[in-house]
C-alpha cells in the first residue's frame, strides 16, 4: 500500500503523455481535442502533486525507502555478463520526495499557465505530449534507485528538452538551438555514462540504496568506501567517478564550459523555459550531485572542482546577463549564474543548502519566466527589452509578481532568495578545503551584480518611459512567437494575459515571498525545516572526516553584508536608470551605450566617473567583449567550441600526412614497423 502512492506520482504523467499522444487519434474535432488536452495534461500533473503531498504526510519521509524492491523489469540488461543486475527500483527519500513535489507542484502550475499561453497554438496536443513526457522523465530521474534509471530519465529529459526547444522547428534558429542543446548535452551525457561504467566496474552495482545496504551509496556511507566484495576502493577511483559524473552534471546544468546551449534554448516556448530550463531539468545536475554526495564527500578534489566551477559560473553568468537585451536571455544567464550558486554550495559540502536554493530558485525563476512570458505574450511575441518600457501601467499585475521575484532573486532581505543565497555564502566562506573567503567574495560580487541586472531588467521593461503611445506599439516586430491568427495583432495593442495565466503566478509569488522564511533558519518549528528534512539523504562532510573552517564573521554580520550587496545592486540600477529616464533617451542602455557614459561624465558626478571607470569600462568591456563575444561566441559557441577548434586545427595538420601517394604510406608503415620491432627487442633485452 505504501508503494502505490509514489508509484502513482510517477505513472500519472506517463498516462497523461499517452493520452495526449493518442488524443489526435481519439478525438477528431481539433477544438475539443485542444480543450481536452489542456484539461487533462495539467490535471494529471496536479493530481500527481496531490499524491506527492499525500506521500509526504503519510510517511513523513524520514527514512530511505527503496520502493518496488526486486521488480526486475530490466533484469535481462547486462546480467550474466559481469554479474550486474539492474532492478527497476524507485527510491523514496526526502531528496526524491522534495524533487517530486517541486516537479509536480511547480510543473503543475506551469502546465496551467501553459494551457493559457499555448491556447492559440495549433499544436497544443503535441506540446503537452512532450510536456507530460518531460514530467515523467524528470520524475524517473529523481525517483530512480540506480544510475541506469537515472540515466534513462537523464536522457529522456534531454530528449524532451530538445523536442521542446525546437518545438517551432520550422524556424531554423529554433532547430539549430535544439541541435546545439542536444550536442552539448551529449558530451555531458557521455561523461555521465562513463562515470556510470566506472561505478559498475568499481562497485559492481549501480543501485543507490538497497534494503540490505548493498547499494553504491550504502557502501559509500562509511568512513572507508568498500566495494561489494569488501575490498577498499582506491581514492583515485572515487575521484575519477566523481569527475566523470560531474561532466554529466556540467552539461545538464549548463555550467562552464558546457553552458552555451542554455541561452539558445530560450528559443522554445516560454513555459518550456520556465519548467525545463529554469525550475527542474537544469537542476538535475545539482540533484545528481546531492544524490551522490556520499561519494563526493570522499573526494576533496572533486568537491573543490565543483565549488570552483560553480563559483566561476555564477560570476561569469551574472556578468554576461548584464549586457543582454533579450528579456529571456537575461533570465537564461541568470539561471546559469544561480545554478553556479547551487554548484558552489554542493562543492563546499553544503548539499542541503544547494537543494534549498534549487527550491527557492524554482519558485522565483519560474515566476520570472512566467512573468516574462506574460510580458512577451502581451507584447505579441516581442522579446527585445529595448522595445519595451513603461509596462507597469499597462500590466500592473504582471509587474507585481515580477517585482516580488526580482527582489527575491536579488536577495532582498527576508525574501526566499535571501535565505538560500545567504546560507550558501556562509557555507562557502567556511569551505573545508580552504579558499573560502575567495569563494565568498565571488559569491558576494555575484549577488551584487545579480541585483543590478535584475533591476535593470525591471527598469527597462516596466519603468522607463513608455514607448507606447496610447498603448499602441510604434512598430510591430514579428518574431517567432507570433501567433498567426491573433486578432489583436492587427491593432498592435498591448493586452493583459488571461486570468488562467496569472493565477499560477500569484501562487508562485507567494512562495517566492515566504518559502525562504518557512524553510530557513528562522522558520517555524525551530527553523531549518528543509535542512532537517533532507538530512537523511545528504552526506555530512564529517563522514569523510572533513570539517568546515571557522566562521569569518558572526551570522548577523553576514546577513547584513549580503543585504547591503543586494540593496546596493538594486539601488544602483534604480538610480542609474532613473537618471537615464530623466535624460529622455529611450533606446539606449546605460551598460551598452558609451554615449551615455560620456553624458554621465559630463554631468560631473564624481561617483559617476569612478563608477564608469571601474564598472562600466572595465566590467562592461569584460562582460561585453571578452565574455560575450570572446569567450562565448568565438571560443565556446557552436559545435567548434574551444577544444573542437583546436582539434580541427590539429586535424588539418595531420591531414597533410595523407598525401595520396602510396609510397609515402609505405614509408610510414616501414617506420612504424621498424619502431615496433626494435622497441620490442629493446624491451626484451632489458628483461
Amino acid at each position: 500500500m505504501q508503494n502505490i502512492l509514489p508509484q502513482l506520482v510517477l505513472w500519472l504523467p506517463l498516462l497523461g503523455f499517452l493520452f495526449c499522444a493518442a488524443s489526435g487519434l481519439v478525438i477528431k474535432d481539433p477544438k475539443v481535442q485542444k480543450k481536452a488536452v489542456s484539461l487533462i495534461a495539467p490535471g494529471v500533473v496536479l493530481l500527481a502533486f496531490v499524491f506527492a503531498l499525500a506521500v509526504l504526510f503519510q510517511t513523513h519521509a524520514r527514512t530511505l525507502v527503496p520502493l518496488i524492491p526486486g521488480t526486475p523489469l530490466l533484469e535481462p540488461w547486462f546480467t550474466r555478463y559481469g554479474g550486474l543486475r539492474v532492478d527497476f527500483n524507485l527510491v523514496l527519500d526526502p531528496l526524491s520526495l522534495l524533487m517530486a513535489l517541486i516537479i509536480t507542484g511547480v510543473g503543475g502550475l506551469i502546465h496551467v499557465y501553459a494551457a493559457g499561453y499555448m491556447a492559440e497554438d495549433k499544436e497544443v496536443s503535441r506540446f503537452f505530449t512532450y510536456f507530460n513526457l518531460f514530467v515523467f522523465m524528470m520524475l524517473l530521474l529523481v525517483l530512480g534507485d540506480n544510475f541506469l534509471l537515472m540515466f534513462v530519465g537523464w536522457e529522456g529529459v534531454g530528449t524532451c528538452s530538445y523536442l521542446l526547444i525546437s518545438f517551432w522547428f520550422t524556424d531554423e534558429a529554433n532547430a539549430k538551438a535544439g541541435n546545439k542543446a542536444f550536442i552539448v548535452n551529449r558530451v555531458g551525457d557521455l561523461g555521465f555514462a562513463l562515470g556510470m561504467m566506472a561505478v559498475w566496474s568499481v562497485f559492481g552495482t549501480l543501485s543507490f540504496f538497497t534494503r540490505d545496504g548493498r547499494g553504491v551509496m550504502d557502501l559509500a556511507a562509511h568512513a572507508r568506501v568498500l566495494d561489494l566484495a569488501g575490498n577498499p576502493v582506491p581514492a583515485g577511483m572515487i575521484t575519477l567517478i566523481c569527475l566523470l559524473l560531474l561532466v554529466g552534471a556540467l552539461g545538464k546544468s549548463a555550467q562552464i564550459p558546457l553552458f552555451v546551449w542554455l541561452p539558445d534554448a530560450m528559443a522554445g516556448p516560454t513555459p518550456v523555459s520556465a519548467l525545463i530550463h529554469a525550475a527542474t531539468m537544469v537542476t538535475a545536475g545539482v540533484v545528481m550531485l546531492t544524490r551522490c554526495s556520499w561519494l563526493y564527500v570522499h573526494s576533496v578534489t572533486a568537491l573543490q572542482t565543483v565549488a570552483w566551477v560553480g563559483a566561476i559560473t555564477a560570476l561569469l553568468g551574472a556578468l554576461m546577463a548584464l549586457t543582454q537585451t533579450d528579456i529571456k536571455k537575461v533570465l537564461a544567464y541568470s539561471t546559469i549564474s544561480q545554478l553556479g550558486y547551487m554548484f558552489l554550495a554542493c562543492g563546499v559540502g553544503d548539499f542541503s543548502d544547494g537543494m534549498f536554493h534549487v527550491v527557492t530558485h524554482a519558485f522565483f525563476k519560474g515566476l520570472l519566466f512566467l512573468g516574462a512570458g506574460a510580458v512577451i505574450h502581451s507584447m505579441l511575441g516581442q522579446q527585445d527589452m529595448r522595445r519595451m518600457g513603461g509596462l507597469k501601467k499597462l500590466l500592473p499585475a504582471t509587474w507585481g509578481v515580477m517585482i516580488v521575484a526580482t527582489y527575491s532573486i536579488a536577495g532582498f532581505p527576508l525574501l526566499s532568495g535571501f535565505w538560500s543565497k545567504d546560507a550558501i555564502l556562509e557555507s562557502a566562506s567556511r569551505a573545508c578545503f580552504g579558499g573560502g573567503p575567495v569563494l565568498y567574495l565571488i559569491g558576494l560580487v555575484t549577488a551584487f551584480i545579480t541585483a543590478f541586472y535584475m533591476n535593470r531588467l525591471m527598469w527597462k521593461t516596466f519603468y522607463t518611459d513608455a514607448r507606447f503611445v496610447n498603448g499602441q506599439l510604434p512598430e510591430l516586430h514579428h518574431s517567432n512567437e507570433e501567433h498567426e491568427h491573433h486578432e489583436e495583432a492587427a491593432h498592435g495593442k498591448v493586452t493583459n494575459a488571461p486570468a488562467s495565466m496569472m493565477q499560477p503566478l500569484y501562487i508562485l509569488a507567494l512562495l517566492a515571498l515566504g518559502f525562504g522564511w518557512f524553510a530557513g533558519p528562522y522558520g517555524p518549528a525551530g527553523g531549518n525545516l528543509l535542512k532537517n528534512f533532507l538530512a537523511p539523504s545528504v552526506a555530512p562532510l564529517s563522514l569523510a572526516g572533513l570539517q568546515p573552517q571557522p566562521e569569518l564573521f558572526p551570522k548577523l554580520a553576514g546577513y547584513l553584508i549580503s543585504s547591503l550587496a543586494a540593496l546596493g545592486g538594486l539601488g544602483l540600477a534604480a538610480w542609474l536608470y532613473r537618471q537615464h529616464m530623466a535624460t529622455g533617451e529611450l533606446t539606449t542602455d546605460a551598460v551598452k551605450d558609451s554615449s551615455v557614459f560620456n553624458r554621465l561624465l559630463r554631468s560631473n558626478f564624481g561617483f559617476d566617473a569612478v563608477y564608469n571607470m571601474v564598472f562600466f569600462r572595465a566590467g562592461g568591456m569584460l562582460a561585453d567583449r571578452v565574455l560575450w563575444h570572446g569567450l562565448e561566441e568565438d571560443v565556446l559557441n557552436g559545435t567548434a567550441t574551444g577544444a573542437a577548434a583546436l582539434i580541427g586545427r590539429l586535424s588539418l595538420a595531420a591531414r597533410k600526412m595523407q598525401t595520396g601517394n602510396a609510397r609515402n604510406y609505405a614509408l610510414v608503415m616501414l617506420a612504424g614497423m621498424v619502431t615496433l620491432v626494435l622497441g620490442l627487442l629493446v624491451r626484451v633485452m632489458q628483461h
Partner: protein
C-alpha cells in the same frame, strides 16, 4: 669447403642482382636481375636439401611469375625508362636509413644468432625435401597441411576469377552503357 664457396658465390650473386633490380630504372633489366636472384636462390635451396622447392621456385617464379611480369611490361610498353628517379629525395633517404636501422638492429640484437638448439641428425635429414616427403606431408591425414593446401586452391581460384574480372573487356563497357 665447396659448400662454403658455393654459398658465398650465390650470396654475392643474390645481393648484387637484387641491388641491380632495385637500382635499375629499366623495368626489364630489373626483372632479369630478379630472375637471376631467384635462380641463385633456387640453387641455394638445393644445397639446403630442398630440391623440390628449388624446382618449383624455378617453375613458378622464374618460369611463370617473372615471365608474366615481362609480359606486362612489354604489353604496356613500359620498357623505356620514362620515369626519372630522384635518388636523393627525402623518401629515398628515409627509406634507406630506416631499412638500415632495421637490419642493423636485427643483427645487432642477435636475432639470428641465438637460435634454439636443433635436433639435427642424419635421421632427420634423410629424404628431407624429396617429392615423396612433400607429398607425404601435404596429403597425409596425420599432418596439418592438408587443409592449408586445399585453402590455397581456393586462393588460386580467387586469383583466377579476380584477374579475369580485372582484365577482361566487358561487353557492358563496349556497349557504352
Amino acid at each position: 669447403m665447396f659448400a662454403q664457396i658455393l654459398f658465398w658465390v650465390l650470396a654475392a650473386i643474390c645481393i648484387i642482382s637484387s641491388l641491380v633490380m632495385v637500382g635499375s630504372s629499366n623495368p626489364v633489366r630489373s626483372a632479369l636481375a630478379l630472375v637471376l636472384t631467384m635462380l641463385s636462390l633456387a640453387v641455394m635451396y638445393i644445397t639446403l636439401s630442398a630440391q623440390f622447392i628449388a624446382a618449383v621456385q624455378v617453375v613458378v617464379y622464374a618460369g611463370a611469375v617473372m615471365v608474366l611480369f615481362l609480359f606486362v611490361i612489354m604489353l604496356l610498353n613500359l620498357g623505356a625508362p620514362a620515369l626519372p628517379e630522384q635518388p636523393r629525395s627525402m623518401q629515398t633517404v628515409l627509406a634507406i636509413a630506416l631499412a638500415g636501422v632495421f637490419l642493423v638492429g636485427l643483427v645487432a640484437a642477435g636475432v639470428f644468432q641465438n637460435l634454439p638448439a636443433a635436433p639435427i641428425s642424419a635421421k632427420h635429414l634423410h629424404g628431407l625435401g624429396t617429392v615423396q616427403q612433400i607429398g607425404y606431408s601435404l596429403y597425409s591425414p596425420h599432418q596439418p597441411w592438408l587443409f592449408p593446401f586445399e585453402a590455397t586452391s581456393i586462393l588460386l581460384l580467387i586469383a583466377v576469377v579476380g584477374a579475369i574480372v580485372l582484365a577482361r573487356k566487358q561487353p557492358a563497357e563496349t556497349e557504352g552503357s
